[in-house]
């Protein structure tokens, strides 16, 4: 991480020269660490009113937990929203919706503009679900925003609540190791996600999400960053046993997962992995896109 900082600053400087209106990314700042105990409690299901608003909340909830089946045109892989946001978007340290909704609109470096909440969700569809985002004013987007709004009931606007995002897991001083990561994967993850990261299906529908390959998140998704995946894994995996892996194990297994091919970054620049790396990945946390691992170029995409 330390080594990356000078390069990050240089690139950030270069970016700001090219684009004078740019600013610090408002969505990546000061994710509260895990030491701060989450206090916010989203409303209980029983408090949901039985009216048009309540129905829209229920619609949004259904889309959130069963996204792929209910929005086949928008989801291009085997993922649901609830795969990365556990407990129906409620769980602290699992990027809960109540930690996100009150923080928008916000400037995002990723697309260099102030994003509405709908635009932020569109990003999830484009990258994490490798699909085609529904229009911002579509009934589905409204339902997802209404569900998020309801979960955020009584949350302050523009305040970074403890439990928001995934807490940062500092990179171990010795870096990460693919071989150790593979061992962690086989011992802890393969039982659900499969020996080849392929996930598991019942009757043709994914129940356990695929972690790499054509049906997983693409090279533009935040989870392709090793640091982000390590944070998610450390605080959420294995299911029901969060915090059971060491920081080192979380980084190792995140690196192992994210050295595998997945769908191409939809922002691919002029068909060039190298140009895409320079423009979108060189200044994006710790990731392997466009680099060589064991002599093989990473980021070629699955073509699927």
């Amino acid at each position: 991480m330390k080594l990356l900082i000078p390069a990050t600053l240089l690139l950030a400087a270069a970016t700001s020269q090219a684009s004078p209106v740019t600013m610090e990314d408002q969505t990546q700042l000061n994710v509260p660490d895990a030491q701060r105990a989450p206090q916010f409690v989203p409303p209980a299901e029983g408090e949901l009113p039985d009216n048009a608003f309540g129905k829209m909340v229920r619609d949004g909830h259904a889309l959130f937990v069963d996204t792929r089946r209910l929005m086949p045109d928008a989801v291009g892989n085997g993922m649901n929203c609830s795969n990365c946001h556990l407990d129906q978007g409620r769980m602290p340290h699992s990027a809960p919706l109540w930690g996100a909704y009150p923080m928008y609109p916000a400037y995002r470096k990723k697309n260099n503009k102030v994003n509405t909440y709908a635009e932020r969700i569109q990003g999830c569809f484009q990258f994490s679900m490798n699909g085609r985002p529904p229009a911002a004013d579509s009934p589905q987007m409204t339902a997802l925003a209404v569900y998020s709004y309801w979960l955020s009931t009584q949350a302050p606007t523009g305040v970074e609540l403890a439990g928001r995002g995934y807490p940062e897991v500092p990179q171990p001083t010795g870096g990460y190791d693919f071989a150790r990561g593979q061992q962690v994967y086989q011992a802890q993850c393969a039982i659900c996600h499969g020996d080849q990261g392929e996930g598991q299906k019942v009757a043709g529908e994914y129940v356990m999400p695929p972690l790499w390959g054509k049906d997983s998140y693409n090279w533009g998704a935040g989870m392709h960053r090793i640091n982000t995946a390590a944070s998610f894994i450390k605080y959420n995996m294995p299911l029901g046993k969060p915090g059971s892996l060491t920081d080192q194990q979380a980084w190792d297994v995140a690196a192992w997962i994210n050295r595998h091919e997945r769908p191409q970054d939809p922002r691919l620049v002029q068909g060039s992995i190298e140009k895409t790396r320079v423009k979108f990945h060189a200044n994006d946390g710790v990731n392997l896109y466009g680099q060589k691992v064991d002599g093989v170029l990473i980021g070629q995409g699955t073509g699927g």
Binding site: V57, A62, D66, Q88, Q188, V202, V207, G240, K241
Partner: protein, 216 residues
């Protein structure tokens, strides 16, 4: 057939069959293994392998072969304890375990429920089954055991259609340590986090879902 005759027949078969001859899974199911202590499955688990709900004997039909084989081996090693099954499993040969597991997996399974993770669950039992209780690190049952609890892969057996008393006995066994053969100790933590009332309610939820559920 008396146990004596069966033992004689078994010995004759063992002597006359080439070593490479695979055990007959259907025969183990209906008549038992070569060792007379390896009782026939159908005596307790029913002619169709569908179990015997009144007695709490589980359904075996359609369960994954790898799962069934693992349970039989785990009774041999003691990581799963149960008075009737331990001697049966110890009396089966490895060939017989493989054969009967494969045979049972090939039998027609109970229809899967249609219950999906989609509706907001107001009822606390349905909520536990579908979504869990993450304040206690309890995942929803169907998150691993598949939609409707119909099972997923070789590690997550079906819950739907199993007798409630069997499901309760398994959760209790994880709590008291008499069952400790869950991969990565995924079930022991869940079982210990549940209350006795929740165990009973969720067991009845899945026992009921196969027989009653149409499409809620």
């Amino acid at each position: 057939m008396t146990p004596f005759k069966r033992a004689v027949l078994g010995s004759l078969l063992a002597l006359s069959w080439p070593a490479a001859q695979a055990a007959d899974g259907q025969k183990v199911f209906t008549q038992g293994g070569a060792d007379p202590a390896a009782l026939a499955c159908i005596a307790c688990h029913g002619a169709d392998g569908g179990g015997m709900a009144a007695a709490g004997f589980p359904r075996l039909a359609g369960l994954p072969a790898a799962y069934l084989g693992k349970q039989l081996r785990d009774w041999r090693t003691g990581s799963r304890r149960q008075a009737v099954m331990e001697p049966v499993a110890k009396a089966l040969t490895e060939d017989e375990i493989k054969a009967v597991s494969t045979y049972l997996a090939s039998l027609p399974q109970a229809p899967a429920g249609h219950l999906r993770r989609q509706q907001i669950a107001n009822d606390p039992t349905e909520r536990l089954a579908l979504y869990g209780d993450w304040s206690r690190q309890i995942p929803g049952c169907v998150q691993c055991h598949g939609p409707g609890g119909a099972g997923l892969g070789e590690h997550f057996p079906p819950l739907t259609g199993q007798p409630a008393s069997y499901l309760v006995a398994q959760l209790d066994a994880w709590r008291d340590g008499s069952r400790s053969n869950d991969p990565n100790q995924l079930m022991v933590g869940v079982a210990k986090a549940m209350t006795a009332d929740e165990i009973k309610a969720v067991a009845e939820f899945f026992a009921r879902s196969a027989s009653q559920e149409v499409n809620p």
